[in-house]
């Protein structure tokens, strides 16, 4: 395995972490949007207390992802920045409004302004994963052509607005919603709120099913819209795809029988395998069909420095993240094999 692939695996790990942690924060925003009725206030409080301590840490994964890509794969990164300028700017605005909307509404705003920022927070929580998913699908679809002679051009929609990209964007939103509802089920049952736990358990099962259907449709149309991805999947990623499906079923089963903590672990595994199978299917291309991972990588000296730095960084960061999660989430609440009420 070349150095480029080692670095790409690390970036993929960051992508999985961002999807599993940051994705849930977006999903929580979506549930905030639909919180209605007499439990609405309780739901919002649950969401606030779940997100408050961790969202900023989760957000850094995105920053890390971007800088990891441009230091290890500078040329492909700059091409993507030009071609997908429009969806990426929209996603960026969503990221900004989501974060600021959340702190504004949890830290002191009241009345009408709080309501407005709550809506901004929720709307941007849906918008952002949609456009991030769409951009990823646009790269995977293999329609970004790179010719050495002609400089890249910003695409006005022919590449990033296809049935396939829209489907993957929707699937990203559904996946975030599923993640959030599973986590919120655990949080609610930790704070002994049976009604909310039931509500989110039901929602997890529904959105999980929706995600599966959208994923199946995306897979179904990929031979037309993303042929290289489809071939890669058939030839290499089949075991991973099957594992993804099995873990998904496992998540549903543990939710059904109310083993919430196991379900939370499984849904993280689900995300890891889902993104993993995408990565393995796309190998050896970074931007199919014209740029491979090895062609797109920067110089070995840069990659090596990056690798050393990342190893040192991870040794410091991973235990710290565990400490944070332990103190604010894992320390209290139900045991791993315990069933919710």
């Amino acid at each position: 395995m070349s150095l480029a692939y080692v670095i790409l695996s690390i970036i993929w790990f960051a992508l999985i972490a961002y999807a599993a942690f940051g994705g849930a924060d977006y999903g929580a925003g979506l549930w905030d949007l639909v919180a209605k009725g007499d439990t609405a206030k309780k739901q919002r409080e649950l969401i606030d207390s779940a997100l408050g301590p961790v969202w900023e840490t989760n957000h850094v994964w995105l920053v890390f992802l971007v800088v990891g890509l441009f230091s290890a794969f500078p040329v492909p990164f700059s091409i993507i920045c030009i071609v997908l300028f429009i969806p990426l700017v929209i996603a960026l605005i969503g990221v900004v409004l989501r974060g600021s909307g959340f702190v504004f509404r949890t830290h002191g705003l009241r009345g009408r302004n709080a309501l407005i920022w709550t809506q901004v927070f929720s709307a941007s929580s849906v918008l952002t994963p949609f456009f991030l998913g769409l951009s990823a699908a646009a790269v995977a679809s293999g329609r970004i052509r790179v010719n050495p002679g002609t400089p890249a051009q910003t695409d006005l929609g022919s590449i990033w607005l296809t049935p396939f990209t829209v489907m993957i964007g929707c699937m990203a939103v559904a996946l975030c919603a599923t993640l959030a509802s599973v986590y919120l089920t655990v949080e609610a049952s930790n704070s002994k709120d049976r009604d909310l736990a039931e509500l989110y358990r039901r929602r997890s099962l529904i959105t999980g099913a929706v995600t599966a259907v959208l994923g199946a449709i995306g897979l179904g149309i990929s031979p037309i819209y993303a042929p290289l991805l489809w071939q890669g999947m058939l030839s290499r990623a089949i075991p991973l795809v099957i594992a993804t499906m099995l873990i998904g079923l496992g998540t549903a089963a543990t939710l059904y029988w109310r083993y919430y903590r196991i379900a939370r672990l499984l849904i993280v595994g689900e995300v890891a395998f889902l993104l993993g199978s995408w990565g393995v299917s796309q190998i050896p291309y970074l931007i199919p069909p014209d740029i491979t991972v090895d062609q797109g990588a920067g110089s070995p000296s840069t990659l090596f420095l990056l690798l050393i730095g990342v190893i040192i960084g991870m040794v410091i960061i991973i235990p710290s993240i565990y400490l944070l999660l332990y103190l604010v989430k894992l320390r209290s609440g139900m045991g791993f094999f315990q069933r919710g009420e």
Binding site: T57, P74, S100, R331
Partner: protein, 458 residues
């Protein structure tokens, strides 16, 4: 508006906005750590209350810092794809290391904020250290990348091809020690005066209790230690520019012709057409003396560069003098303050004029940071990477850049207004009853009230 102008305006606006939060993100954590440390040593609930209050404001400030930083990070690629291709290949890993520094800061800030009711006091204080260390480290990493833009090393660029890349040599570029030290100090200067100004204003409005005095004193102490060091380090920077980036020094001082016996012009507007200054105070031989220690010292002027390679001296010179002026003014205020303090046997001076001076210094500290960056960035023009990549070549070909600029300006306006309203409202909430049990960290039940107002615990 041309695409290049729009992109430059958007980048500049974003950085001018972000740097305010960067400075606070480096300075406030140190203040938190100091205040909580004082509280533990003295068992003093007033110090503890200060730490609690600052932490609560920091939640909002850090969040806006994080989102504005994310904008800048994306803009490096979205607005300047050719630049990111270049800098990413050579010195990109530094941005990734900066990411780890942010991780450290964000993780421990989360722990610090949400474990007042869980961790015992000593350990709670310990969690404040990684926050300011992370902030300081991130400054070092990011400013090193900027230093590299000023004096790029560690690669060969020929016929549009990058070869011979050596990232370690790029990190060790000659500007790094000068710029990183100067910027780190700037964070403590600006944040110290900024926080002191808030208490000075409160005292001007009659709130002269122990709480406000202590807040003023700690913040001003930090600023006072940093400011003289800052001026010394700035002097090193300027002298160093004479060899590293003569075009920047020439723009800073409005030197149009290469010569010896160059005067120093204080204030005034350099006029490129006549090659003279309008309304400046000249000090004969001043610049030659400052830069080379000799009146015969030769200073390279703008005329030694072809017209398309010259930065515009007007903004650079004005910004430079504004920074230096702010530096000396704030130092003067701080010195008067401590002189009176020790003369009056350790009683905080409460002269109206002096407090107003502290309030003004709060503004000038941040102004100096902004102006210093204008010197660095405008003084580097027309290059994005000095001598290698022009700003006009670095810019994206994407459409709608004007609309994007306007949209982001709108976002910054909304964020700034909402945040100011929130912080003012926080400042107006009444202080809690300051007894040790009620405000200190730990698992005792007496502090639930204050924990709840901080949204701590379940």
């Amino acid at each position: 508006m041309s695409g290049l102008l729009a992109a430059r305006s958007q980048m500049g606006t974003s950085l001018v906005f972000h740097i305010i939060f960067s400075v606070l993100g480096v300075g406030i954590p140190l203040l938190l750590c100091l205040a909580e440390g004082m509280a533990l040593v003295r068992k003093d609930p007033v110090w503890m209350t200060l730490a609690r209050r600052w932490a609560k404001a920091a939640v909002i400030i850090f969040a806006i810092g994080a989102v504005s930083g994310t904008i800048v990070e994306f803009e490096l690629g979205l607005l300047w794809p050719t630049y990111i291709k270049f800098i990413g290949a050579v010195i990109g890993p530094l941005f990734a290391f900066e990411g780890f520094a942010f991780f450290l800061e964000a993780i421990f800030f989360g722990i610090y904020m949400f474990t007042w009711d869980i961790l015992p006091p000593f350990w709670h204080w310990v969690t404040s250290f990684p926050i300011w260390i992370g902030g300081l480290a991130s400054t070092w990493f990011i400013v090193t990348t900027n230093s590299w833009m000023n004096t790029p090393t560690g690669f060969v660029f020929k016929n549009g091809q990058l070869t011979g890349i050596d990232s370690l040599q790029a990190i060790a570029n000659p500007s790094t020690p000068y710029e990183t030290v100067h910027m780190a100090l700037a964070c403590y200067v600006a944040c110290g005066f900024g926080v002191a100004a808030i208490y000075a204003i409160a005292m001007l409005r009659g709130k002269r209790d122990d709480y406000h005095r202590k807040g003023l004193m700690l913040a001003l102490a930090m600023a006072t230690i940093a400011t003289p060091l800052q001026i010394v380090s700035g002097d090193f920077n300027a002298r160093y520019l004479a060899t590293a980036q003569p075009s920047k020094l020439a723009a800073m001082e409005g030197v149009f012709k290469t010569s010896s016996h160059v005067p120093l012009h204080i204030g005034g507007i350099p006029d490129e057409k006549t090659g003279t200054f309008i309304l400046a105070i000249p000090i004969p031989d001043g610049l030659s003396l400052l830069a080379t220690y000799s009146p015969d010292g030769v200073i390279r002027g703008l005329d030694s560069y072809p017209p398309q390679d010259r930065p515009d001296p007007v903004p650079v010179h004005l910004a430079f003098d504004g920074m230096v002026g702010s530096g000396f003014f704030t130092l003067f205020v701080a010195l008067v303050f401590w002189f009176l303090y020790f003369k009056r046997k350790r009683i905080i001076p409460e002269h109206k004029l002096l407090l107003m001076g502290v309030a003004l210094s709060g503004l000038l500290g941040f102004l100096a940071v902004e102006l210093g960056w204008i010197v660095t960035e405008e003084g580097r023009q027309p290059w994005a990477i000095y001598g290698q990549l022009r700003t006009s070549e670095a810019v994206t070909t994407a459409p709608f850049l004007g609309a994007s600029f306007l949209l982001f300006v709108l976002i910054y306006l909304i964020l700034a207004i909402t945040m100011t309203v929130l912080l003012l409202r926080q400042a107006r909430t009444p202080l809690p009853e300051m007894t040790w049990e009620k405000v200190s960290s730990g698992t005792q039940p007496h502090n639930t009230a204050i924990n709840q107002t901080m949204k701590v615990g379940s």
